[in-house]
């Protein structure tokens, strides 16, 4: 009996806890946390920042500086997985952080869920215009940008001393390296079994194709899907010639897991990737150079997607006034922008910071130059519906499927999903 009594006591205690925790749906999970945070508020209030691991580490010292100057308790939380959806869920449940750091293409979804507020930047002229354009959605600036990134072409200068003048030039050079036994792959661009829209975008635009037409304000227009337009079909036909049934430069067996390592192990002379690959390449001791992704002979400029990272003010944060102060006034300062650069070396969004860091890191300017023709990745929520079907269509085309009908099916799937 004794044991049963203890067990019953424990069970009852946990039952009451859990009954209160889940009793009435999503909003209730908030209550214990709310209690804790309201109880712990010192005079200056608390500012909770969410970011992924690297960004959290980078922002911590400067955020704490802000806290010290203003008497605000700073808490930086690293959210390692699904930051965007966790943030939306937390917002809805009333557990939102005050500040979010993340990619600009989340803005459409965050705004449609009422999870972030527009900000008023005073010094927009200090930023690279493309970064401001990226964080603008429906005419409103939704965040303070601090970095931009885009795909570039890395080449192993021991194997390929000169930047290719065209895709054809790159492929023929890659082929001769392969036939001479110096490499085993012509180039490394991740495709994977299910495709990769982001990495295919430069070649797609080089061939004249695209995904959405742009409206008058230069924002992607979800009603104008051009995935199966004649231009896109022509572009994907060129890409198919590079594929498994053609040159063999693009193949589905090269995916997100092995693309960079194929390059760093010297199996190929060319890699299509972004600044995140630099650390691995340097570690492998490969002599490399960075140039723009080339276009087809007689083609249009290759336009990689530009991704921008930014600070956002959470609509449902508990300390919005301080969050606004942090995001719209403090995050745009040189100190924060430089700190974020040191955390993850990407071209900074502010021109002054760019000049400063380019002096010590020559790669930064090269990445920026490689992306000069790029366009911000559309931040409309409908973009999310594109990646899956279009990626799969592109993978099939690389594998040799009929271009026109494959693109038609993908475009139909996208149109249906957008509704």
């Amino acid at each position: 009996m004794k044991k049963i009594h203890v067990l019953v006591g424990l069970a009852v205690g946990s039952m009451v806890l859990s009954a209160c925790g889940t009793g009435g749906g999503g909003n209730t999970a908030a209550s214990p946390t709310t209690a804790a945070s309201t109880a712990a508020v010192p005079s200056g209030g608390k500012l909770l920042i969410w970011a992924d691991e690297k960004k959290a580490e980078a922002v911590k010292p400067v955020a704490e500086q802000f806290g010290k100057e203003n008497g605000v308790t700073i808490e930086v939380q690293a959210v390692t997985k699904d930051l965007q959806s966790q943030f939306v869920t937390a917002s809805q449940a009333g557990n939102a952080p005050d500040v979010l750091i993340g990619a600009h293409d989340w803005i459409g979804n965050l705004a449609q869920n009422g999870a972030i507020d527009p900000v008023q930047l005073s010094n927009t002229s200090a930023f690279d215009p493309s970064t401001i354009k990226a964080v603008t959605y429906n005419g409103q600036v939704y965040g303070t940008p601090y970095s931009r990134e885009n795909l570039v072409l890395f080449r192993n200068t021991a194997l390929a001393p000169n930047a290719p003048t065209s895709v054809e030039d790159m492929v023929s050079n890659g082929k001769s390296l392969k036939s001479s036994g110096k490499t085993t792959e012509i180039m490394a661009q991740q495709v994977g079994q299910n495709g990769d829209v982001y990495h295919m975008q430069p070649l797609l635009t080089a061939g004249g194709g695209g995904i959405f037409a742009t409206d008058a304000q230069g924002q992607a227009d979800p009603k104008k899907v051009i995935i199966d337009s004649p231009e896109s079909i022509a572009a994907m036909t060129k890409i198919q010639k590079l594929g498994e049934k053609g040159d063999g430069a693009l193949k589905r067996s090269i995916d997100d897991k092995n693309a960079i390592s194929t390059f760093t192990s010297g199996k190929t002379a060319y890699l299509v990737s972004g600044p995140w690959a630099i650390a691995d390449i340097k570690k492998a001791g490969i002599k490399y150079d960075i140039s723009a992704i080339p276009t087809f002979q007689g083609g249009k400029p290759a336009q990689p997607f530009i991704g921008v990272n930014a600070f956002y003010v959470a609509s449902k944060g508990k300390n919005k006034v301080v969050a606004n102060e942090f995001v719209s006034n403090y995050a745009s300062t040189d100190a924060v922008q430089t700190a974020m650069f040191n955390g993850e070396p990407r071209p900074p969004a502010q021109t002054a910071v760019l000049t400063k860091v380019s002096a010590t890191d020559p790669d930064i300017q090269k990445i920026l130059d490689a992306g000069k023709d790029g366009a911000p990745m559309p931040s409309i929520p409908e973009m999310g519906k594109v990646f899956d079907p279009v990626g799969k269509a592109q993978a099939n085309i690389v594998g040799g499927a009929d271009v026109a009908s494959t693109l038609k099916s993908a475009a139909d799937a996208v149109r249906q999903a957008i509704g």
Partner: protein, 534 residues
């Protein structure tokens, strides 16, 4: 089969004799009493601790639930009698909290459009639309803002002290408008350091009054001055506003209107444009209609469901066969190093299946994978529907047989050897003895596990999601792939990159639940027949 006691013709209703457990005075184990007091004390303490924040937030329903459940706990456990609820309550509570509530939530969600863009109530959408429509006046200057309170204390009426950075002139902004403040002391940054009759708030004091700061807009000729943080203010105006008369949003600048559509939970214009911020509405059977009217699913549903059954059955019976075979082989005491082999065989089961699935996926890579290198082939495993199906089943075999081995080893050891010996004495061959004695006895204890394994594998998202991701996808169908199970297909439909659609996902899970429940019921009926053997 043992005889069941038959119900007596005149049921003799015995009045239950309540047994006293003892409450303090006589015949009580003091330790038990202490445990009881501590346990109930804890319950009360937790309840009181939770009640505070619930009351503060005005969550009355939850507060009611808390009071009711606490009272129930006290009523049941304080009294000294041994009544059944004392033993039933914890189990019932867990049943309620972890089974009934989630099921009810799923069912109610299935009839709504809850998901990205439709998460909150309409009021939230309106607030979001209005507040994100503030347009900065084209030539607005950036005022340096100092938040202050009227009077000698920081809780006086909130005002904005606005410094023009060019002229360093200060104005006092209130809800009534702007008045000049010539006697303000201005610091180097433009912040007001002192103004007679006002208390300048530091950021901590200001943050305590965040709501007042957010709500204060100082009217001007061209709009209103609003704060951006606590050190800057700008002039701008809300361009969109909601009017309850027409249940619509109007844009002042363009004159365009968007009318609320209660069916879809969007504000829609006459041309069909909708504002991104929507709200949660009841869509009736809409989610189910969408599932059954989905043209891709319609075209591929039969194939997908057949493959789904083939996959689940092949994995269950395949792993069972392999596991049983090894278990039989290792059940012979003559085998040397029995323990060593058993450990070796259980190994795949002990590894994290997430990691193993990813390793297997890479092993099936056409150009860099181990499988092609070992076999000396150049097969595009995940690029061909049949090969991909073979590959995922192979992977599941490897992951699943150790479990079946463990289960059948246990079951085999519980079958008395005299039964098989008796069969041997009667002249039955080994195979016959196995088929007629061992296997049926084995199935009695393992059949429920096989059914459980079936329902698990029927919904084995990881097996697909972490390997082929449903692929390969035929060129004419970029959404339904060759190895897609119902669960992996609908997961992408509901949570794919297109955002979360919880309402739809809930509807799908109800449908899948019906399928699995039907199969399980049939399965359990069949196992009931096996029970007869005992």
């Amino acid at each position: 089969m043992p005889d069941r006691p038959t119900t007596p013709a005149t049921p003799e209703r015995r009045k239950p004799v309540l047994q006293r457990e003892g409450w303090g005075i006589t015949g009580t184990n003091p330790l038990a009493l202490l445990a009881k007091i501590i346990g109930l004390g804890l319950v009360l303490a937790i309840a009181v601790a939770l009640a505070g924040p619930l009351l503060a937030d005005g969550r009355w329903v939850l507060f009611g639930v808390l009071v009711a459940s606490t009272l129930l706990v006290l009523a049941v456990y304080v009294q000294p009698y041994r009544i059944p609820p004392k033993y039933l309550l914890p189990g019932l509570a867990f049943l309620l909290v972890f089974q009934v509530v989630p099921v009810l939530l799923t069912i109610t969600t299935a009839f709504t459009n809850f998901g990205d863009g439709h998460r909150g109530p309409k009021e939230d959408a309106i607030v979001s639309i209005e507040s994100s429509s503030v347009q900065r006046t084209a030539d607005s200057i950036d005022y340096v803002l100092t938040v202050a309170a009227k009077g000698p204390t920081p809780d006086g009426k909130l005002v904005f002290l606005l410094t023009d950075p060019a002229t360093r002139q200060v104005q006092i902004g209130t809800a009534d408008g702007l008045t000049p403040a010539p006697d303000a002391q201005v610091g180097t940054t433009g912040k007001v350091t002192e103004l007679p009759g006002y208390t300048v708030l530091d950021i901590g004091q200001a943050s305590a009054r965040a709501k007042d700061i957010e709500n204060l807009s100082v009217p001007t000729a061209r709009g209103a001055i609003r704060a951006s943080g606590v050190s800057r203010a700008y002039e701008g105006s809300k361009t969109r506003s909601y009017a309850p008369q027409c249940d619509c949003i109007t844009d002042k600048a363009t004159g365009q209107t968007w009318t609320a559509d209660p069916k879809t939970g969007y504000f829609v214009s006459s041309t069909g444009d909708r504002l991104p911020q929507g709200w949660r509405v009841n869509v009736g059977l809409g989610n189910f209609q969408r599932l059954f009217a989905d043209p891709v699913l319609g075209k591929h549903f039969t194939g997908m469901i057949i493959w789904n059954f083939v996959f689940a059955l092949a994995v269950v019976f395949g792993t069972f066969a392999v596991g049983l075979l090894i278990a039989l082989a290792l059940n012979n005491p003559l085998v040397r190093g029995l323990k060593f082999y058993r450990v070796l065989i259980v190994l795949p089961y002990a590894m994290p299946s997430f990691a193993m699935l990813l390793v297997w996926r890479d092993m099936f890579n056409q150009d860099f994978g181990l499988v092609n290198q070992l076999l000396g082939t150049d097969l595009n495993w995940f690029g061909d529907a049949t090969l991909a199906k073979l590959a995922v089943i192979t992977i599941q075999f490897w992951l699943g047989y150790p479990y079946m081995f463990l289960v059948t080893t246990g079951a085999l050891q519980s079958i008395p050897s005299d039964l098989t010996e008796a069969a041997a004495v009667d002249g039955a061959s080994r195979w016959l003895a196995f088929r007629t004695v061992t296997l049926p006895l084995l199935l009695v204890s393992t059949a429920p596990l096989l059914i459980a394994s079936f329902s698990f594998n029927f919904n084995n998202y990881n097996a697909i999601g972490l390997t082929t991701e449903g692929g390969p996808f035929p060129p004419d169908s970029p959404t339904a792939g060759g190895t897609d199970l119902l669960i992996s297909y609908t997961y992408r439909l509901a949570f794919g990159a297109g955002g979360a659609q919880y309402g739809f996902a809930a509807a799908v899970s109800l449908v899948i639940f019906l399928i699995v429940a039907t199969v399980s019921v049939i399965g359990f009926r069949r196992t009931a027949v096996l029970e007869e053997i005992n």
